[in-house]
Symmetry: C2
């Protein structure tokens, strides 16, 4: 294998490849990318993909890791915050989920694809590192609020499906907007409207009366 | 083109091909099918796919039409029901959405795939025949309840994303269940729990207090 210097890798080349792959998936509404497009848009030699990630599957996995690590870190920090009420934590979390899907609308599809194409051991790693921590965070976020009488009794696992499912609709919204409403992009204004709407419905749905 | 008799087509062969394709997608958690598997499982000559649908893309489109026509017919009938309150109609609708995604968990992914692979004219047809009628039904279902003071003011388009997004999580739930909880299938018991949960959260989310 050549040294990365020989491939003309500038500092931050690995991160730039991931950023570019993310932008391509987001803009193109796809969970696949061509290495030639990645090379063209990043201005980097496509041999660097091989150098850093082995192959395209390795690149997809690295992007999954990048995106999920940011999410799990952020959720863990929220759960650990002192002095915040369960309601305040959940409100913040829901806002963040919508923002996250706006930034990485491909994430759910990418996760399911990588799990589907992985062997059992790798699927287990993804579940253990990313999905299970999310469930534990929900057990804590929801459990604390139920215990405090602020939330109605709610199954945290099922609630996780509700929240992420509703927020994830941003992903498929783009095609629907285009063909139903002749509106071509997911704008920040629409994201903000959807964030308020989601927060409103979900909080009213879980808060004790 | 040969006559369908020459291909050994029994009565109902077209419907059987669609039923079988639906079952393969549902069980395999895929939105693609191999014609050889379709032929094997249906017991029908794979030349019948060509006879009835032209090619695989035509088969996928016919399945989309079959599934969506059932949904739109059912929603239109619900909206038109006399003597039902907006709350009763919405409750019934939400139950039905969860049941539908349990039966055809591939539908959202299939719709997005077919739209993505269609020319503008065909994408417009799908939007006009299926997506737009759903939006109009939501405008009516939600608008009537808001006008009656039973529902809080709610954007029907955004609410459509919330409901279908939350219900659609059934689709991706299967892989998550398998790798996080060692539970291999979406059971009817889980569907029933998720249906109750979804109904509970969403109705509490929209009902005026």
């Amino acid at each position: 294998m050549p040294e990365k210097q020989d491939l003309g890798a500038p500092p931050g080349a690995r991160a730039l490849l991931l950023d570019t792959a993310s932008a391509i998936m987001r803009e193109g509404d796809v969970i696949d990318i061509s290495l030639s497009e990645l090379s063209l848009r990043s201005g980097l030699n496509s041999a660097l993909v091989k150098y850093y990630f082995g192959n395209k599957a390795g690149l997809l996995k690295a992007l999954l890791d990048r995106d999920w690590e940011a999410i799990v870190t952020s959720v863990d920090a929220l759960v650990a915050k002192d002095g915040w009420s369960p309601e305040a934590k959940l409100r913040r979390h829901i806002l963040k989920v919508v923002d996250t899907f706006y930034e990485v609308p491909y994430l759910n599809r990418l996760t399911m694809r990588v799990i589907r194409e992985s062997d059992d051991r790798e699927a287990r790693r993804i579940a253990d590192c990313y999905l299970s921590p999310m469930y534990r965070a929900y057990e804590s976020l929801i459990g604390d609020g139920v215990a405090a009488g602020v939330f109605r009794p709610t199954d945290p696992q099922l609630f996780y499906f509700t929240v992420t499912g509703a927020a994830d609709r941003f992903f498929s919204a783009r095609l629907v907007l285009k063909h139903c409403f002749d509106q071509d992009t997911l704008t920040e204004a629409l994201r903000d409207r959807y964030r308020e709407h989601t927060l409103d419905i979900i909080m009213a749905g879980i808060l004790a009366r």
